[in-house]
Symmetry: C2
Subunit: 423 residues, 2 copies
Amino acid sequence: MTGYFAGRSLADLGRGLRSGSDTSAGLLARALESVDPSLNAFVTLDPEGAAAAARQADEELASGGDRGPLHGVPVAVKDIIDVAGLPTGMGSAHFAGNVAKEDAGCVTRLRAAGAVIVGKTGTHEFAYGGSGDVSVDGPCRNPRDPERISGGSSSGSAVAVAAGMVPLALGTDTGGSVRIPAAFCGIAGFKPHYGAIPTDGVFPLSPSLDHVGVLAATAADCRTAYRALADLPHREDAPPGGGPAWIVPFETDTDVERTVRALFPDAPSERVDLRGLRRVFVGIQDSEAYDIHAERVAEAPELYQPATLARLERAARTSGWHYVRAVRERERYAREVAALLDRYDLLVLPTVPITAPLIGATDGPMGPLQPSLVSLTCAWNILGLPALSVPAGTVRGLPVGVQLVTRRGAEDLLFAAAGTLPD
Amino acid sequence: MTGYFAGRSLADLGRGLRSGSDTSAGLLARALESVDPSLNAFVTLDPEGAAAAARQADEELASGGDRGPLHGVPVAVKDIIDVAGLPTGMGSAHFAGNVAKEDAGCVTRLRAAGAVIVGKTGTHEFAYGGSGDVSVDGPCRNPRDPERISGGSSSGSAVAVAAGMVPLALGTDTGGSVRIPAAFCGIAGFKPHYGAIPTDGVFPLSPSLDHVGVLAATAADCRTAYRALADLPHREDAPPGGGPAWIVPFETDTDVERTVRALFPDAPSERVDLRGLRRVFVGIQDSEAYDIHAERVAEAPELYQPATLARLERAARTSGWHYVRAVRERERYAREVAALLDRYDLLVLPTVPITAPLIGATDGPMGPLQPSLVSLTCAWNILGLPALSVPAGTVRGLPVGVQLVTRRGAEDLLFAAAGTLPD
């Protein structure tokens, strides 16, 4: 089953809403009809709240009020982001029955832009993993092959978009959690620079690495959503892209690498110490994550999924001086990559070094699964740089993503470059 | 033996130099004559380099060039601070034979102010301890009782000033390392706000806590030196002091507490969680210190003094999440103390909760010695606030210090308040 929103851009939807050929209430009905429970994308649907929002959106449009390109559009929100009045479950038994009192900052901005929040989408437990199959809500399933993982941690958001249930979803990305499921599900995922979208009301995983991001079918729709969420004025035009460099990946499936590389055959190869950056990432994420969870681990360890508890127990053993050293190395890497970005406008590499493995796998073709999943994405969280994943074709029938990275503030270079790629 | 500079203020010395009754070369000779090797204050003397500097200072003054209140004054520098051409030994066998190539930033400023660097003073090994008796150079001895510790880690600087060998010395202060030996030796010690004096060329102990500070007989002389080191214009007048609050100390000798409290009998009592701040201090200092030392511990542990190695090995076991938590708590404490400093101009408490114990002691009357020594000082490193220790009398014949703390930028309130205390 393919949902209504497959192949429908935000621009298409906006035209329909403004021409009167469609209504927000109608789009909401399409979204709810498109939900395929077998894929386990949504953990909460809010038909009544959404209907009220859609009605308001329709009334505003009818009376000449126009909030821009998200006005009246159904949107899904990852279940670690608070939406007032709805449960925020974090994919964890720890938060059973937890109902959010207030909207997260990013949700406030979504509403201000006129979006209609359809419901909450499944997350890897506490967003602490890139596979999306570790959750009290059960695994999210990849629409391209439901026996395979969607990728995570913004698993349900990727699935909801990829299956056409909604045209747009909010995710969070601490080490790749927007881009990984986007790549595995064959859609676009974008995280802007660190701090561009507020993170209040988002349950923290690793505060110095946490980003809010967006998932949509295309880069262009990610851009539209990003500009609304970052409170930037909507602009139709992006500046032309500059020269790309190919960043040599590591521990990457050769077919994945070849497929992505073919999109930028002329880009010169450059090396960034992605392996060292992953080490820095792990040191920082583990220490910050355990700080968030220490009391829960002490008081109710049994409420975690076993895989999450095992990760946390390992995270607790990271030493303080390794954390301090990681923070120092982060600064050194930031200087190195800034120098590279003085010479190139774009850095290009695969989003994930492999295609989606089967649900429940703990090892992938390149070794232990979790570190493999983030190996090419987490560098850009450590450095806080804008990063976009867009579809790059398929390998053995499964989607592969190409990742584009640029300087802070040069987000539009990514979207311009994505616009030149073959569909 | 009491050295020449005992009881001679910088203002006195400046008048002598400018009236022609004295010369910088003459003061240098007095300094060198005043050095008492039995106290082990200096680890390096530089009679030739100092003579050249003194000659230049005299020539400049004779030709009408005047660099201000430090012009021609003999100064000692702690042996973790680089002085070009002289050994920097860190009190450690690890740096035997290490000769500095360049002046530290604070030494550059000293020289620009016309000071004459007499030599380098002993430090607790790597400045990692508050007692001053753990060093490859042997213990520094307290001029008031040579069987007792001077306090540290700026041990030699405090001894050199307290014994009248020099009128002024540079120290560093990460948890109290200027103020503790100042209090134990009966002189004044001051650390300004974090970052006020550059730390380049100073061997790091815990970079987010390290401060350069000054030791002199009086608060007024600390102020003069501080203004030169912080590159502030010299001013004669300080604004009047505001209302003080008495910060209730913990684990403090009752006679020490009573003696210090008597100086501010009318100050209302307020509570700051000094115990919690010490816990935060230890978590941050240990992680940052081990990051600095990890390779040395791995490669040549036998070169450390046993007490230092034991501290480092314990420091290595601090966990990353404790560090992260400590950094978060530091921010919370900063807000709490800022609120207190909205109501009071000064916070007043003892500098050290005890008097100087015997050399080699590892326990004091309030428990293990090292944590006891920093228990009332380290809070102001965690918070980066200006803190001054000045003599507050004696307990059982040994000096006791009163510590004054204020807002960043309000350093002169400290000096004004110190000026109102009985001599």
